[in-house]
C-alpha cells in the first residue's frame, strides 16, 4: 500500500506556512493555524516516562549506563478481543445550546469522513476512541450547515471557549463530561488529521466542523473548525453521573 502520508504533508505545510492569512488571536508557534485559542494536549510525549519518574538515588541506579531502554513487557498470550465499550449516542454543549443525537459514521469516497446527512445530528467516527476508554481521541463531527437545510448542529462550534463543557452520553447512559481546552481553525489542506484522529495520547474529545469562507467554485468551506476538550476530573464525572 503506497499511499501518500498526509501527516507528513501537513507537517511540511506547517513549516512553510509562515502565518500567511492568519487572523488575530493566533498563539505563538502555530504556523498551521488560521486561528487558534488555547492548546491541545500533546499526542506524543517528548519526555520518556522512565526518565521523568526516575528516583534520583545513585545507590538504586542499575549497573550504570545500559545502552538499552525497556519500553514495555506484556503478557502476549492475551488476544486483542473485540471492544464492547458502548458507543456515544448523544452530545450536549450547553454554551451553544446543542443537544443532539450522535450516529456512527465512517468513511466515504477518497477517505473523507462521512458527516450525517441530517445536519441537526452529529456523528461519532467509528475508528476513533470511545468516550471513557482512557486513551486517544474521540472524534465527533457535525455540519456547520447543509446545502439546503440551513444551520447545522455544529454551526456555533466556533463560538466555544476554553472552559466550556461538553457532555457525551454513551449507549449505557454513562455520561462523560469534558472541558474545552482549545479551539483551532485550519485551512483544509493543513489540518493535522493524523494527530486529531490518533487513538494514542491522552483521552480527549475532538469536535470538527467546517468554517471560514465558502468557496462557491468547490462548494466547500475553506477551513475546518476544531475544538478539543479533555475529561473533567473523576469526582466531577461521578457527580455528573448521579
Amino acid at each position: 500500500m503506497t499511499r501518500p502520508r498526509p501527516a507528513l504533508l501537513v507537517l511540511g505545510a506547517g513549516a512553510l506556512a509562515l502565518g500567511i492569512g492568519t487572523v488575530g488571536i493566533a498563539t505563538a508557534g502555530s504556523g498551521m493555524h488560521v486561528e487558534s485559542v488555547g492548546a491541545r494536549p500533546a499526542v506524543t510525549a517528548t519526555a520518556t516516562p522512565e526518565a521523568s519518574s526516575t528516583v534520583a538515588d545513585p545507590r538504586e541506579a542499575p549497573e550504570s549506563a545500559s545502552p538499552y531502554r525497556t519500553l514495555e513487557r506484556v503478557d502476549a498470550t492475551a488476544l486483542p478481543r473485540p471492544d464492547r465499550t458502548p458507543r456515544p449516542v448523544e452530545i450536549t454543549i450547553p454554551a451553544i445550546d446543542v443537544r443532539t443525537s450522535v450516529e456512527v459514521v465512517g468513511l466515504e469516497d477518497r477517505d473523507q469522513v462521512e458527516v450525517p446527512y441530517d445536519v441537526a445530528r452529529a456523528g461519532w467516527y467509528r475508528y476513533s476512541a470511545k468516550p471513557g476508554s482512557g486513551e486517544g481521541s474521540t472524534v465527533i463531527v457535525g455540519h456547520v450547515d447543509g446545502v439546503d437545510q440551513g444551520a447545522g448542529a455544529f454551526y456555533d462550534l466556533r463560538q466555544l471557549r476554553p472552559g466550556d463543557t461538553v457532555t457525551v452520553t454513551r449507549a449505557d447512559e454513562r455520561r462523560v463530561t469534558y472541558e474545552v481546552v482549545a479551539r483551532e481553525v485550519f485551512a483544509k489542506d493543513r489540518v493535522p488529521l493524523r494527530e486529531l484522529f490518533s487513538r494514542s495520547g491522552p483521552e480527549r474529545l475532538t469536535l470538527i466542523t467546517c468554517g471560514g469562507p465558502f468557496d462557491p467554485a468547490s462548494l466547500e468551506y475553506t477551513d475546518n473548525v476544531v475544538v478539543t476538550a479533555v475529561p473533567v476530573d473523576s469526582d466531577r464525572q461521578i457527580e455528573e453521573n448521579r
Binding site: 507537517l11 517528548t46 525497556t70 514495555e72 503478557d75 498470550t77 477518497r110 455540519h143 455544529f154
Partner: protein, 273 residues
C-alpha cells in the same frame, strides 16, 4: 546450538529504513531501533526462566514463556544470547545464540525464541512492517513458530494464508474490525487453534504467533500489537454552504427591493409629471 540464518533481517530492514527515516519521528529515532523479544519456548523445555544478553549486556531479565518485551536499542550489529536464569556470559554457555544480527536505525523487529518445526529451540528474527495505513485499515501478520506442520490461517470460513510453515509469515492489510480467527492443518478441516474472536483495530499491526508444540499438545496463540499507524482520514467535509448563501440571497432580495422601490419612484415621478 542453533544459529539461525539472519540475512533476511539485513535486507528487509534496509528496504524499510528509508521510509522510516523519512517518517515524522523524533530526530534521535533514526539512530535507534525498536526490538521486541517474544519468549515462545513452552514451559518444560529447559527455558522456563531465561535472561537475554545483547553484545554481552543484559537486555531482558527473568524472561518467561508467553511474554513479550520491547526494548529500544541503538542501531548496530548485535550478538544475541539466551542464558538460563541468573547465568551470564562470564560464567556459563548460552542456551541459544544469534550472531551478527543487523539492526538498522528506525527499524522495528521482533526476535522470537521458539521451537523449530522439529521441536528444537531456535531464535528467529522478523522485521515488522510498521508502514502507515490508510484510514479504516488494519494489518495482520501471522507467524508460524511452533513445532507443528504447515498450517492454513482462516478468518471466518476464508483461508487468508495457506500452507504457512515454521518459521515463515504472512502479511495482509484488511478492513479494521472483528474477525473469527482459526488455524487448521494445511489443506484440511482439522482446526488446531481457535476459532477465537480477534479485534483488528484500525491503524494497528496485529502479529499473531502460533507457538508451542503439536506433539506436546500445547499449541497456542500469542499476539503482539503495534498501534497508531493510521494516516487518519483525508478530510472532513462538514458544510454545504446554505448559511453563507443566505446573506447572498438576502442581498439579492434587498437589491430587488431597491430596484422595485426605484422603479416605483420612477413611476411616481412619471405620474407626477
Amino acid at each position: 546450538m542453533i544459529r539461525p540464518t539472519l540475512g533476511r533481517v539485513g535486507i528487509a530492514a534496509a528496504a524499510l529504513a528509508l521510509p522510516l527515516g523519512l517518517a515524522a519521528v523524533p530526530a534521535q529515532a533514526a539512530d535507534m531501533a525498536t526490538v521486541s523479544v517474544l519468549h515462545a519456548i513452552p514451559e518444560g523445555a529447559g527455558a522456563d526462566v531465561v535472561d537475554v544478553f545483547a553484545n554481552g549486556d543484559l537486555l531482558i531479565d527473568n524472561f518467561t514463556p508467553g511474554t513479550l518485551e520491547t526494548v529500544e536499542v541503538p542501531a548496530g550489529t548485535y550478538d544475541l544470547a539466551v542464558f538460563g536464569d541468573g547465568q551470564t556470559p562470564d560464567d556459563a554457555e548460552p542456551v541459544l545464540i544469534a550472531e551478527a544480527v543487523e539492526v538498522p536505525g528506525g527499524v522495528n523487529a521482533t526476535v522470537t525464541a521458539n521451537l523449530d518445526a522439529e521441536g528444537a529451540p531456535a531464535l528467529n528474527v522478523f522485521v515488522n512492517d510498521v508502514s502507515a495505513m490508510a484510514a479504516g485499515e488494519a494489518r495482520l501478520i501471522v507467524r508460524h513458530i511452533a513445532a507443528a506442520p504447515a498450517v492454513d490461517v482462516l478468518a471466518g470460513e476464508d483461508v487468508i494464508f495457506a500452507d504457512v510453515t515454521n518459521p515463515n509469515e504472512g502479511v495482509v492489510v484488511v478492513p479494521a474490525g472483528d474477525y473469527e480467527a482459526s488455524v487448521n492443518l494445511a489443506g484440511t478441516d482439522t482446526t488446531v487453534l481457535g476459532p477465537a474472536p480477534v479485534m483488528l483495530e484500525e491503524g494497528t499491526v496485529t502479529i499473531a504467533y502460533a507457538w508451542g508444540s503439536a506433539e506436546q499438545e500445547n499449541l497456542a496463540l500469542a499476539t503482539q500489537v503495534i498501534t497508531d499507524l493510521s494516516t487518519g482520514p483525508e478530510g472532513v467535509p462538514a458544510g454545504g454552504g446554505s448559511t453563507t448563501q443566505l446573506p447572498l440571497m438576502a442581498f439579492g432580495i434587498a437589491a430587488l427591493g431597491a430596484l422595485a422601490i426605484a422603479g416605483a419612484g420612477a413611476r411616481l415621478a412619471a405620474t407626477r409629471r
